[in-house]
């Protein structure tokens, strides 16, 4: 177990290092300049700015400096906002993103589980068809299309919730709802097929044969076992939430990381793009690592020592 953990952790670190390097090199290839009003700068002003941001040094030196600072938790300064460090910008903006992301994830998982479980227990009935239809729609309709429609019908036409304002708790409802759609669909589909598989297992027949009542069979044997693999969905779900926040924050005017990222892309604020890219990648790698470990703990059939994952 310990050896496996160390090995997985080493992989995670290597992946992260490669991402840092690749992102750094890609940023060197970016066309254009990160300075606002670059065309108005004189030759000497540019030289001063370049020196300030360390852009006058060779790429190799810049790279080493960047890695060195990164290890100490310093992501550099923003090119667009005078004197702001990337770290402080991320710190300011991570709150709203985390809030709507977690809300969407929790809400989506609960609804998805309920839908999927009911649909498996009422296999091939009208309830099942309705929930499968909801799942297919949720998988297929892009989250930003759904978000735009939510905003139009609930925000503009009905006027129930704020449209694109970030002030109180009510502002978080629509963005979280829009984020949860993909989660609902993914979880519902997944748990439904898991449930159907478990329902066909011999141990379920055994439990029924020994006279356990139906609710006991369902709760103790079926749902419990079907829930274990849901943990593996965390990785893909985290990705869909991250993808979602990039557009949904733009739509609902949420002052979060996704909105900052899309803004920075449009103005080529290198250091901020890099910082947020690294944060997203690190988060994703951490979730995958966490899922691997958790899954090994939950399902004793998986042998972590062997090194080969199921």
């Amino acid at each position: 177990m310990k050896r496996y953990l160390i090995q997985r952790f080493a992989y995670a670190l290597i992946t992260l290092f490669i991402i840092v390097t690749a992102t750094f090199l890609l940023m060197q290839l970016l066309p254009g300049t990160p300075y606002s009003n670059a065309e108005k700068l004189t030759e000497s002003q540019r030289a001063i700015l370049d020196a300030k941001y360390g852009l006058d040094k060779p790429v190799a030196i810049q790279y080493i400096t960047y890695i060195g600072n990164l290890v100490q938790g310093d992501l550099g300064y923003s090119f667009q906002y005078q004197g702001r460090t990337v770290m402080s910008m991320i710190g300011d903006r991570i709150g709203p993103s985390a809030l709507i992301g977690l809300q969407g994830l929790v809400f989506g998982t609960i609804i998805g589980l309920v839908l999927g479980i009911i649909s498996a227990l009422r296999h091939n009935t009208a309830v099942d068809y309705v929930s499968v239809t909801i799942a297919v729609l949720g998988m297929s309709i892009p989250s930003f299309v759904f978000a735009a429609l939510l905003q139009y019908y609930i925000g503009v036409k009905l006027g129930w919730l704020p449209v694109a304002l970030w002030e109180n708790y009510q502002s978080t409802i629509l963005p979280s709802l829009a984020l949860s759609v993909t989660v609902i669909a993914t979880v519902a589909r997944f748990i439904r097929s898991e449930m159907l598989e478990v329902l066909g297992q011999d141990y379920v027949t055994t439990a029924r044969a020994k006279g356990l009542n139906e609710s006991g069979v369902i709760w103790k044997h079926v749902i419990r076992n079907a829930l274990i693999p849901v943990v593996t969905m965390l990785g893909p779900l985290a990705v869909s939430i991250m993808t979602g926040t990039l557009v949904i924050e733009k739509i609902f005017g949420v002052p979060g990381l996704g909105e900052q990222f899309t803004l920075s892309i449009l103005v080529l604020d290198y250091s901020v793009i890099m910082g947020i890219t690294l944060l997203y990648s690190a988060l994703f790698i951490f979730v995958v690592f966490f899922v691997d470990v958790l899954y090994g703990l939950l399902d004793p059939r998986i042998d972590l020592k062997g090194g080969s994952k199921a």
Partner: protein
């Protein structure tokens, strides 16, 4: 599951009836087989593909999706030339006209704007714009179908390239195994550790915006899924008897791959491709929506949705129509892919 398809050529020399019956040491004489009787008994063997087709056609959702996709695909080709407008031609006096179709007024295609004013009557416009016009007076019917065409094109090309790279990579990795496989798998492991949306965005930033860059950015990490599927299937097949038999009979590496391994992994490959297409359509629309997509005056579904979203309060039709089209395309591809998975892989059926 897969079917075993032994190749006739390899077994030709082994047929017993070709050899004369000769008494052996233990006086065992093979009974001569009456070839005609055997042929009478043999039922026409249903091939794997025929069975799969039958299973697919029993799935109503998949059939409806297939028909709808054919219609949508056909519309994306002929739609742009069905009226006299082109996707880039601007006509400012006719800007922001709501959709109007003679005979379909009851469906909302009545030419009235959000305030209920018939814009066509008010501005004295004679021609009907079926899906309305945008702020430059460009015909949205033409633009929506042109956009569908471009979105489908991007998705199909990206899926095809993923397929080619994935099959080659996965095939080599599984076939040679050992050290080569090990190294190739480590590379894949690292690539899957990177959130692919981030990679796509970064690559789009350094490439010139356009159709080619979008496709390129999408395949940079897109092929990994396909490579994994192919490798997994190949490893499973490698150990099976018909492969050993063929190899024993002296089949070359490339013959083994072409004639025995590839036909048997076709099922999962097709299913993976079918799931790649909607993902690619989504990514294209996503990129366009955050402003990294195609440049005007080109249209894709994502570009149209982005334009429509900006005008959602006053001209909701600009968002609704492309949103409905993209959702339909995605739903159909997902349902068809589901149906194909069930048809091609009955064991996976749940």
């Amino acid at each position: 599951m897969t079917t075993i398809q032994p190749n006739d050529g390899d077994f030709k020399n082994l047929r017993s009836q070709d050899r004369p019956a000769e008494p052996s040491v233990d006086l065992f004489v093979p009974k001569p087989l009456d070839a005609t009787v055997r042929e009478e008994l043999a039922a026409p063997a249903p091939t794997f593909w025929k069975e799969a087709r039958e299973r697919l056609f029993k799935n109503k959702g998949a059939v409806v999706s297939l028909v709808l996709l054919i219609i949508l695909g056909a519309m994306s080709l002929i739609g742009p030339s069905m009226n006299e407008f082109t996707y880039r031609e601007q006509h400012i006096p006719h800007s922001n006209l709501p959709p109007k179709v003679a005979g379909l007024e009851w469906l909302g295609f009545d030419g009235k704007d959000v305030n209920g004013v018939d814009q066509y009557a008010q501005r004295g416009v004679e021609t009907n714009y079926w899906f309305g016009t945008d702020e430059f007076g460009r015909d949205l019917w033409t633009r929506v179908w042109k956009g569908t065409q471009i979105s489908l094109f991007i998705a199909l090309v990206a899926a095809f390239l993923d397929l080619v790279i994935g099959v080659i990579y996965g095939g080599i990795s599984a076939y040679y195994g050992g050290r080569i496989d090990n190294v190739m798998q480590r590379i894949i492991e690292i690539l899957t550790g990177i959130p692919n949306l981030i990679v796509i965005i970064l690559f789009i930033l350094i490439l010139e915006p356009g159709i080619r860059s979008i496709i390129l950015a999408m395949i940079i990490t897109g092929w990994v899924g396909m490579a994994r599927v192919v490798r997994g299937q190949m490893l499973q097949l490698k150990g099976q008897e018909f492969v050993l038999a063929s190899r024993t009979l002296g089949a070359s590496d490339s013959r083994l791959m072409r004639k025995h391994l590839l036909p048997n992994v076709m099922g999962p490959i097709i299913v993976t491709v079918m799931f790649t297409i909607p993902t690619a359509i989504f990514f294209e629309a996503f990129l366009s929506f955050i402003g990294l997509g195609l440049q005007a005056p080109l249209a894709s579904l994502g570009v149209l949705i982005e334009d429509g979203y900006d005008a959602i309060r006053s001209f909701p039709y600009k968002l609704l129509i492309p949103a409905v089209v993209i959702s339909l395309v995605m739903i159909c591809f997902n349902l068809l892919a589901d149906g194909l998975r069930d048809a091609l892989d009955p064991k996976m059926r749940k």
